[in-house]
């Protein structure tokens, strides 16, 4: 068991955004996290990555309690997240952005540069390495988020809507990249609204609605579950 989330809850001034959510992630798998807007997906990510402290519940990573730890500590322990609303370091180049990620584990600047080049080669972003991050397109920003997160050499990668706003070709590329990342032995949790993508890459899917887990299962089970169809997918999707 790589990650174990137990009875996780978060209140925002009386509003319960996440309510007693439990799930586990096995090493090497891809877990999909889906649900309508406001279901508490990103809030869950924020709690796992440390940027929000849970109101209740525990988060165990490699059998270690990481509940309430700061984001940098959690990153150094091996969980790195990307942001739904991209957060590039705008005045740095693509390579420098990735180097900042590499520095989490590599202290020497020259080695960090070499490692950053390797990461960009892996994510097929090397041709853009000297471009200033602010001049990239949305698709490239989303990819840079992934490159930079990978650069920290995580065991668990949290991808928050890394395909939102991408065109069909970019989505195909992203799916392929996620597959490549899994082959490296990195475990992934994906939040995604692009159903085609999430259904094809996930081993298991957890469905949230109004902060609660309403379903967990394989993509087929989830796609055919009446409750999920009602809350999120809609009748049209079920008929297809």
């Amino acid at each position: 068991m790589l990650l174990e989330v137990k009875g996780l809850s978060k209140d925002f001034a009386g509003l319960r955004a996440v309510h007693h959510v439990d799930f586990t992630v096995q090493k090497g798998e891809i877990l999909g996290l889906i649900g309508p807007n406001g279901a508490g997906k990103t809030t869950t990510f924020n709690m796992i990555s440390g940027s929000l402290k849970p109101t209740e519940g525990r988060i165990l990573f490699k059998e270690r309690d990481i509940t309430g730890m700061s984001p940098p500590r959690i990153c150094l322990l091996g969980i790195t997240r990307t942001f739904q609303i991209v957060k590039p370091l705008p005045r740095l180049t693509v390579l420098e952005n990735v180097m900042v990620g590499v520095f989490a584990k590599v202290k020497d600047a020259r080695k960090a540069r070499e490692r950053a080049v390797e990461v960009l080669e892996f994510t097929e972003q090397l041709p853009k390495k000297d471009m200033v991050a602010s001049s990239l397109t949305l698709g490239e920003w989303k990819k840079l988020e992934v490159s930079r997160a990978l650069a920290t050499n995580p065991d668990l990668l949290l991808l928050d809507e890394c395909m939102a706003g991408l065109n069909t070709k970019e989505i195909t590329d992203a799916i392929r990249l996620i597959g490549k990342i899994r082959e490296k032995g990195i475990t992934i949790i994906v939040i995604e609204h692009v159903m085609k993508a999430i259904m094809s890459i996930s081993d298991r899917i957890v469905v949230l609605n109004h902060g609660q887990k309403i379903m967990e299962g394989t993509p087929e089970q989830v796609a055919n579950d009446p409750q999920v169809i009602k809350a999120y997918l809609g009748e049209d999707y079920a008929k297809r």
């Binding site: 790195t80 957060k87 705008p90 420098e96 180097m99 900042v100 990620g101 520095f103 471009m131 920290t152």
Partner: protein
């Protein structure tokens, strides 16, 4: 950052122009007969060094300070008081001045750098004011408003001070360049660019902001000691001044180009020359001119002088990269 790296990439040309500049600066006192001009150049170099120190924290780490006079004044007073009260050599005083500046920065940094927003900038401003009042009223120790006169400073001639500040300035610039090329420098800039992203990438942001502050305050303290020796006289109004020290440091950097390597040097040149000119015409109103200048720069040259020039070769670098 990009500028720095592209500058280092085109190392040969950069190296050559820096060598020429350095050679000119070394020869200058031998050919310059005017003591007044020499004095102006000493001031330019001192302000450039102060600007570089402020810029590491304000420009590269993104933590603007409106109260660097706190560290400048503490440095000046430390060197002078250690000398007059305990007989510590003024040369050692430079080092202790830096240490004192760094030490005084730690409590305010530890408390206020946790927060985002203007809290840090204003807390340092308050710190400088508190220190000014303490030195003003603790007369038995600091001589209060009477100030301290260094009868025998560390050196005598202007030429000697010229080389001293050239050396100190070089030391500060080289240290800054060294830091910026390493992990610590990348972390400083990452914090400036996006604090959430920085944290998510494993950077303990409060700790690194504090490192940046301590280094910046250390440099500023040393320069406070230089100022005390050079002018031979300090009092609380001079070294803890909001306008003439704290804001002047911001002006030097903003005018020259915030977050650029050469910006502070360019800014120092402009500010020293202008303030010399204005002093004779406007006297006390020179602060008013500073204020107007900041407004004009922010409106028309938001990247500062060096920043605006650099933009062009920065874009050309991007073009070449593709």
């Amino acid at each position: 950052m990009v500028h720095l790296i592209s500058m280092l990439r085109g190392q040969k040309r950069g190296f050559l122009s820096i060598t020429i500049l350095l050679a000119i600066l070394i020869i200058l006192p031998w050919v310059l007969t005017s003591q007044y001009l020499l004095h102006l150049i000493i001031l330019v170099m001192m302000w450039a060094a102060l600007g570089v120190s402020w810029n590491l924290l304000g420009g590269y780490t993104g933590q603007v300070s409106f109260g660097h006079a706190a560290f400048f004044g503490v440095g000046a007073y430390t060197a002078c008081l250690l000398h007059t009260k305990l007989g510590v050599s003024l040369w050692a005083g430079f080092f202790f001045a830096g240490v004192a500046g760094a030490l005084i920065s730690i409590p305010v940094g530890t408390i206020c750098l946790r927060l985002r927003g203007p809290y840090f900038a204003l807390s340092v401003l308050a710190l400088a004011e508190i220190l000014r009042l303490i030195t003003l009223y603790w007369k038995s120790f600091t001589e209060g408003a009477v100030g301290i006169l260094l009868v025998i400073p560390v050196m005598e001639t202007k030429t000697e001070y010229y080389y001293l500040i050239l050396g100190l300035g070089l030391l500060i610039m080289l240290t800054t360049a060294y830091i910026l090329k390493r992990r610590m420098g990348f972390y400083f800039i990452a914090i400036r660019e996006d604090e959430d992203a920085a944290e998510a990438l494993g950077i303990f942001t409060t700790r690194y902001k504090l490192y940046s502050l301590i280094i910046s305050a250390f440099f500023t303290g040393i320069l406070g000691a230089f100022f005390a020796n050079y002018t031979q006289f300090i009092d609380p109004y001079i070294v803890f001044a909001i306008g003439e020290v704290s804001i002047a440091m911001v002006l030097v950097v903003v005018l020259g180009g915030i977050g650029t390597f050469w910006g502070p040097a360019v800014g120092a040149l402009v500010v020293v020359l202008l303030s010399e000119g204005f002093r004779s015409y406007f006297a006390q109103a020179s602060l008013l001119v500073y204020g107007a200048l900041i407004i004009i720069v922010i409106l028309f040259l938001p990247r500062g002088i060096a920043g605006s020039i650099k933009t062009r070769d920065h874009l050309s670098t991007v073009g070449k990269g593709e």
